[in-house]
């Protein structure tokens, strides 16, 4: 594998493997990559509609323009592998088996959502033994924390001799956290079968990369951890697949951690409420016009695989139908019941007791008691 140094290669494989890993993908698989990107984008567009109808309870986070980085990288994993997504990796979660209806219910805080209304947006997962779980881990908000956790997940693979690999995403911004540093360093020392993907999308909330680090590029951090570093164009889904597949194979072969930098761009704000006032004029438009990952890949599909307009529009129809069905299903679900709040902080005791001032009251009443006695509620102000 290419080793990061002062002049790292912009991916393109290595001399040992002149054939791109993606050359081994079938036509169907290559079309599938487009399907996942399209599904990601359309599902987020549906979420925008629901958000505007105030059916989404909290904030809404978009990955517009980054679909290739999430989808292409996760596509390099096997089902038994474990992937730890961040807020902009909806695409990776879908590839790994999360369903649109789960995502919709989660955003709408439904009682039968994957976290039963306890956690927000795409903070949910499904991990455990290979085979019986889909292999994606629910993230928490404090940035960087998933890196040490994935160090532990992959350490367990190593200890048990399981043929499984882990993949964890980290934003350009979150590379500044202590947790990232401690986690990747420990994993590197332990040669855990882990791929760490730095998604360099130019911004952390409003903070541009040059205020986040003085490094010329994130792949330069690999050498400081004594691991290989690879870099790719994050908006070229096949390049993303290639570079991740290399890193996954490296991990699976027992050679340890790789840091992969994917260069992409966050076209929407940090969350839906962010007006991106801090972005230089024209920047977003330029990326949209010249570097949209779906547009770019459509050209590849058409020109190199002879995919027809009919095939594409059938696929678009399928995506729309799936999302419509999922929306119908999600809307039919109700909110959680208040008393479910008490269940499962510990395995033992399995539930907390209601506090004394609740015991004699009708617990269900609390579901409707909105805390709006004072002041006014302005939804636009409270979706940070």
């Amino acid at each position: 594998m290419a080793r990061a140094g002062t002049t790292p290669a912009r991916s393109k494989g290595t001399s040992k493997a002149p054939v791109r890993p993606s050359d081994a993908l079938s036509r169907e698989q290559k079309i599938e990559l487009y399907y996942w990107m399209r599904l990601t984008r359309s599902l987020e567009e549906r979420l925008v509609n629901l958000y505007r109808q105030t059916k989404v309870v909290g904030g809404l986070f978009r990955s517009l323009g980054q679909e290739a980085d999430a989808v292409g990288s996760c596509f390099a994993l096997e089902q038994r592998d474990v992937m730890s997504p961040l807020i902009r990796n909806l695409g990776a979660m879908l590839v790994k088996g999360a369903t649109p209806v789960e995502v919709l219910k989660q955003y709408m805080a439904k009682g039968d959502s994957p976290t039963r209304g306890r956690e927000l947006n795409i903070h949910f997962g499904d991990i455990g033994p290979a085979g019986s779980t889909r292999g994606f881990l629910g993230q928490i908000s404090p940035l960087g924390d998933m890196v040490p956790v994935m160090t532990g997940v992959t350490l367990s693979f190593k200890m048990r001799g399981e043929d499984r690999v882990g993949l964890v995403y980290i934003g350009d911004g979150a590379t500044s956290t202590g947790a990232f540093h401690e986690g990747i360093n420990f994993a590197a020392v332990q040669k855990c079968p882990l791929v760490v993907i730095v998604e360099n999308n130019g911004y952390a909330y409003s903070t541009p990369t040059h205020k986040q680090t003085a490094a010329r590029q994130f792949v330069d951090k690999a050498i400081g951890y004594g691991i290989p570093g690879l870099q790719a164009d994050g908006n070229d889904v096949l390049a993303v697949y290639d570079v991740t597949k290399q890193a996954v194979d490296h991990a699976r072969a027992g050679h340890g951690v790789t840091l992969v930098e994917l260069i992409t761009y966050r076209r929407k704000g940090h969350a839906e409420h962010d007006n991106q006032s801090y972005v230089p004029p024209g920047e977003i438009e330029r990326w949209a016009a010249e570097n949209d990952p779906l547009d770019r890949y459509l050209v590849v599909l058409r020109e190199q695989l002879g995919v027809t307009d009919e095939e594409i529009s059938a696929l678009h129809d399928r995506v729309q139908r799936e999302i419509d069905d999922a929306t119908d299903e999600a809307e039919r679900s109700g909110p959680p019941v208040p008393l479910d709040a008490l269940v499962g902080v510990y395995a033992d005791p399995p539930a907390e007791q209601p506090l004394w001032f609740r015991r004699d009251a009708d617990a269900d009443a609390y579901g409707t008691e909105r805390p709006e006695g004072w002041g006014t509620w302005n939804a636009s102000e409270t979706k940070p």
Binding site: G58, T177, T207, Q212, P335, L339, W374, G375, P384
Partner: protein, 334 residues
């Protein structure tokens, strides 16, 4: 300070959030050693826009956008504070104080005692729930710091206090953790007192006078307690509400005064129950006012649960006005 806030032409009121911003403007204008640092506080004006306008007024040297590094933010503030600066650090959400727990409790809190180093700094940020923020954007982690000698803790309930306490916190010679309740940011307002409005740290405020039962509380639940007091007045129960404003140092005298007046105490906070600040208050009252107590000290708090996101769950876990009403009734009838 017109840049800092949008005073309502009709009432002259500004919000809790604007009051904090005004305090930052005034203190930065007054003292060149005051500077701000945090994530996205500059061009963007902060996730909640508390620091909006500061960059334009005071420039990049004094309004520093940082990497996502809470340890570094707190540590760097301490180092600058040692050298005579007065840093004000924003946590994008106060929940992320947890990431700097070592730096705050081990380095900052002990600096004066072990090394005679001044550490005048403020660490501030949006706190608290009732906003559907889920488990990591709704916390009230004050109890985790009350335990550490060397830190001061402020948690205002009103807009006027938010301004006056922020100014006092910035001028204080020790580290002050300044909790800003995000539900109150834009929901409560006050006309700011004229002139250099400084509210001294460590002094509680009687938010409502009463004679039958005392409620000691702070931040969001001051308002819920006042609401409850209003309802209870209709039943003929007269409730006194004490707003602590500063949690460390705690205004023991004010607490004991109201307990000795009404002989019945309810402690209310939004934070979880076990290990929360209500326990400490109960212990102090028990030690000092045992003879005056006509009823057990009771607590209305959140349940011991990571705060869930869905409205029915969040509402169930957090204390509500009706809980306070019920608890006061019980005390009054004791």
């Amino acid at each position: 300070m017109s840049a800092a806030s949008t005073v309502s032409a009709a009432t002259g009121e500004i919000t809790y959030l604007e009051a904090i911003r005004e305090a930052l403007f005034e203190e930065m204008a007054r003292d060149p050693n005051v500077f701000c640092l945090g994530e996205d506080i500059g061009a963007f004006g902060g996730a909640f826009k508390v620091t909006e306008g500061l960059l334009a007024r005071f420039g990049e040297q004094r309004v520093i956008d940082s990497p996502i590094s809470e340890i570094a933010l707190v540590g760097a503030a301490a180092g600058a504070a040692h050298m005579g600066m007065r840093p004000v650090v924003e946590m994008q959400f106060i929940d992320f104080l947890a990431n700097a727990y070592d730096m705050l409790t081990n380095y900052v809190a002990t600096a004066r005692y072990r090394a005679f180093l001044p550490c005048p700094m403020v660490v501030r940020g949006p706190s608290g729930g009732y906003v559907r923020g889920g488990p990591f954007h709704s916390q009230n982690p004050e109890a985790g710091f009350l335990h550490t000698p060397g830190l001061k803790i402020v948690y205002p309930a009103t807009a006027a206090d938010a301004k006056g306490l922020m100014k006092a916190a910035i001028r204080d010679d020790d580290c002050v953790l300044f909790f800003e309740h995000k539900y109150l940011y834009r929901r409560v307002k006050d006309v700011m007192p004229d002139g250099d409005h400084v509210v001294p740290l460590g002094k509680a405020r009687v938010a409502r006078e009463g004679s039958d039962v005392s409620i000691v509380t702070y931040a969001s639940t001051v308002w819920k307690s006042l609401e409850a007091a209003e309802q209870l007045a209709a039943e003929g129960i007269s409730v006194e509400v004490l707003d602590l404003r500063t949690l460390a140092p705690m205004d023991d005298e004010a607490i004991f005064r109201t307990v000795k007046k009404t002989n019945r105490l309810l402690v209310v906070h939004e934070d979880t129950r076990t290990g929360g600040i209500a326990g400490e208050i109960t212990a102090r009252v028990s030690e000092t006012c045992f003879e005056w107590l006509d009823a057990p000290v009771l607590r209305v708090t959140a349940a011991d649960i990571p705060l869930p996101y869905a409205p029915p769950l969040e509402d169930y876990v957090l204390p509500q006005t009706s809980d306070i009403v019920r608890a006061v009734r019980r005390l009054a009838a004791y």
